[in-house]
Amino acid sequence: MEWETVIGLEIHTQLNTVSKIFSGAATAYGAEPNRQACAVDLGLPGVLPVLNAAVVEKAVMLGLAIDARIAPRSVFARKNYFYPDLPKGYQISQYELPIVEQGHLDIDLEDGSRKRIGVTRAHLEEDAGKSLHEGFTAMTGIDLNRAGTPLVEIVSEPDMRSAKEAVAYMKKLHALVRYLGISDGNMQEGSFRCDANVSVRPRGRTEFGTRAEIKNLNSFRFVERAINFEVERQIDLIESGGTVVQETRLYDPDRDETRSMRSKEEANDYRYFPDPDLLPVVIHAEDIEAARRRLPELPDAKRERFISAYGLSAYDAGSLTASRELADYFEAVAAGCGAPKLAANWVMGDFSAALNRSEAGLAQSPVSAAGLAQLLSRIQDETISGKIAKEVFDAMWAGEGGADAIIEARGLKQITDTGAIDAIIDEVIAANPSQLEQYRSGKDKLFGFFVGQVMKKTRGQANPAQVNERLRARLQGD
């Protein structure tokens, strides 16, 4: 039988506010355990939550960016369950009335087409603390620094049909929150993590199969592998006569498999009810307009602009706009050297390759946009060839200085003096009489040999176009 995969994602994004969603404690990552947990975060008797207004602004920006409805009135509810890293015994979240509803995000598929993925809702909530098991015997450590960190949970429709589509959606959303500047999107630190709802059904059937929810996937690779494993597992199970049960599963990256965590029967009854400590969040049309004015250019719009303004291909424009930093970097380079296509090739080519090799973020790049623009300008004004430019770039990356300084220091300036080039050509011709004869008798391929010899003698510094032109004339014997 042919099977179809159905995937919906719930993505938790940490909002990058300075203080927590309901308290004044700092949200910075990496502090000593429990040093960033105030009385409110600890859930001490008598404390009360107060909503951080910055959180609402950021959620509204997200809602606008995915073309969603911003609820004029949304309500915080308590999700009640006991867990040691949940200090109050309930999580403050939004339930019946979330702040954002009915949006969508378009993803690009491998065949070049676009697909629209529905976003059911996005709601605000507080993060829990962390339970620490390492370094404790017969006990568990609790770190409440993360407790109360603002999250927006973005719930998609079950619109994705493969792990690849799921990853494309997740990447698109990841880029979006970073474009909006509402989250640092740091996946290692858990700022952007995903639960995947996965089911399979015979192709052509309209009703969904029973789904399993895979919890806490914190990398694109894990999402793809976990979904693929889970799809295989479900198909194997059904084909061998079994049935999929609704349950929560955990992905184990070491074994590359998902394991059952709890079944539907063991699921908590969260006893949601509106939190009486907090007023409803009321958002006026003016608030929405103010947030709209703060929206930066979004990835899709930027991509279109790159195609029309810079004459880039759809593929190149897509790659360059995948992250806001890369797009900004590209635009700075293009403006600096005046050659957008050259800039695009370099940014996507040598620059991205070097960045990947160094595993550094763009912000830590040793070659600034202005530096790269200077290098490309030297290609443009024919001071150096594209080939020499690669050598200069490597030197810049190694910290040897700016492009001009390196060209000067290493004597890499291109030879454009016709007389000097002619002299070298003459030397080469004189030194290779038999090749000259063969060439003149019709072995055209030997042209490349002569070019190579000339370039070798000039250590690559001769202007290639000039070499071609002069050499051809000389070889023909004029």
Binding site: P45, P87, D269
Partner: protein, 484 residues
């Protein structure tokens, strides 16, 4: 030394007739000598009190005019007080030394009040008799065989016996007004949102409200001046300027329209309480008030609605007492579930457990709509009743409680009978209105309280009516014989 009211002491302190230290020592002496008969305090803090009194004396000497400067008060043990045990009447928090101070306490401290200690209360404010306290029941100073009411029974008994001139209380369903009535003192539950709940240990967040308990309306007004006001740490606190509640005390009652809900004078009302209430109403009429019969048709639904909403909120509010971070923790837990279940089973008393179970039930999947949602709708109907009534009248009056103080143990076996003790007070919390109880007479030796209910933020008017009544009568000035 001759006893005086809070307002009286304030005048004498300012006249340098007495020092705050002398006054504080005087009341600490009374507590020391007399509280063994009442058990109205959970913690007495003489060292802190004397240090605060000395500081107040210095401020008085400098001519500082802070409104409560040098005046001894007691805090209900529901308010977090830095460095002092804050037990909430529960074994669960017997070992809890608050690491921060509630806004109400902070404001009163800033106003110069001298805290003598923390008063006894029903466990987590759940009770109407003060019998659910982990620290034992409080006795009514008018009759030690009888309850002082609850949950602010310690504050009410201490003020009635003049172990302290004034105290704070909290009122979720009548917990200021009913004990004030049972002990023959004055107490006011302000409009929901008037007084910050920050640092006040939550029972039912949408109903809880702190207020003053004292001998007279004037004293309550002085206290409320210090307690009320917007607090950015409490999202439900109302951003609105606080008037001087003592300013309207002199307003006369001519033309005041007082509504008498027929539902508050019907079946179940003790005839003695009815007679005392009617006599008190006659006094108000003689002072020029107009008595108008009104109806609050949905008030009969208030007790059942309350016993859905309040337990629902409490079941969630009390989830934090899990033995993990603070409070009671069972010995040698075997695992996490054992830690939770034994810590909570050992730390909470029966009434608290009953309400947690009711609340958990009414919020459960499949029951939420039938109970919690329905109760919230009833709540709106009750508020609508009051809104209509306040179109016709300025103040609503009636008995605070259908009966005089009952005997210890009399209702312990029957929670529903206990719950009905708050039948006239609960609707006020559900609607979020201000309500006051003042001494209105006696049945035999036992005090009877009259409740005045006002429109939103109309505390000044309630205090004014009570003050005018207290100009005409001396019920509020009477004291239980054993404590004179």
């Amino acid at each position: 030394m001759k006893l005086d009211t809070l307002a009286g002491w304030a005048r004498r302190l300012r006249a340098r007739d007495i020092s705050s230290r002398e006054l504080t020592e005087f009341y600490l002496g009374r507590i020391d000598r007399l509280d063994s008969q009442l058990n109205s305090f959970i913690s007495v803090t003489p060292d802190l009190a004397l240090a605060a009194a000395d500081a107040a004396d210095e401020r008085l000497a400098r001519g500082d005019e802070a409104p409560l400067l040098g005046l001894p008060v007691a805090q209900k043990d529901i308010f977090c007080t830095f460095g002092v045990r804050t037990s909430c009447g529960s074994k669960m928090l017997d070992n809890f030394i608050a690491p921060y101070t509630a806004t109400v306490v902070e404001r009163m401290n800033a106003a110069g009040a001298v805290m003598l200690g923390k008063t006894n209360m029903d466990e987590f404010a759940m009770g109407s008799s003060n019998e659910t306290s982990h620290y034992g029941p409080v006795r009514n100073p008018w009759d030690p065989e009888r309850v002082p009411g609850g949950s602010s029974g310690g504050s009410a008994a201490a003020v009635a016996a003049r172990l302290v001139p004034a105290a704070t209380g909290t009122d979720t369903g009548g917990s200021i007004r009913q004990p004030a009535a049972f002990c023959g003192i004055t107490g006011i539950k302000p409009t929901y949102g008037r007084v910050s709940r920050y640092g006040m240990i939550a029972f039912a967040s949408s109903l809880d409200q702190a207020g003053p308990m004292a001998a007279s309306a004037e004293d309550c007004a002085l206290m409320l001046n210090a307690m009320a006001g917007f607090d950015p740490r409490d999202s439900t606190s109302v951003e609105r300027p606080v008037e001087d509640f003592t300013a309207g005390l002199g307003a006369d009652l001519k033309g005041l329209r007082i509504g008498l809900p027929r539902e508050f004078f019907g079946e179940g009302l003790d005839p003695g309480v009815r007679a005392a209430t009617e006599a008190a109403l006659a006094v108000l009429r003689e002072r020029g008030a107009e008595l108008i019969e009104i109806s609050l048709p949905n008030s009969g639904l208030s007790v059942p609605a309350y016993y859905v909403v309040a337990p629902a909120e409490c079941s969630s509010n009390l989830a934090r007492y899990d033995g993990v971070r603070f409070g009671h923790r069972c010995d040698e837990p075997r695992d996490l579930t054992d830690l939770y279940t034994r810590s909570r089973a050992e730390g909470f008393g029966a009434e608290v457990k009953r309400r947690i179970m009711i609340g958990t039930y009414v919020l459960s999947a499949g029951y939420y709509d039938a109970y919690y949602l329905k109760a919230q709708k009833v709540r709106r109907l009750i508020a609508d009743d009051f809104r209509r009534a306040f179109g016709q009248v300025d103040v609503i009056a009636g008995p605070t409680s259908p009966e005089t103080p009952f005997r210890l143990g009399e209702k312990s076996a029957d929670p529903v009978q206990m719950y009905l003790s708050d039948i006239y007070t609960i609707a006020v919390n559900l609607a979020g209105l201000p309500g006051l109880s003042m001494p209105a007479g006696t049945v035999g030796n036992l005090p009877v309280g009259m409740q005045l209910i006002g429109n939103y933020f109309d505390e000044a008017r309630l205090l004014g009516v009570a003050h005018q009544f207290q100009q005409e009568t001396d019920w509020h000035a009477r004291m239980p014989a054993a404590f004179v």
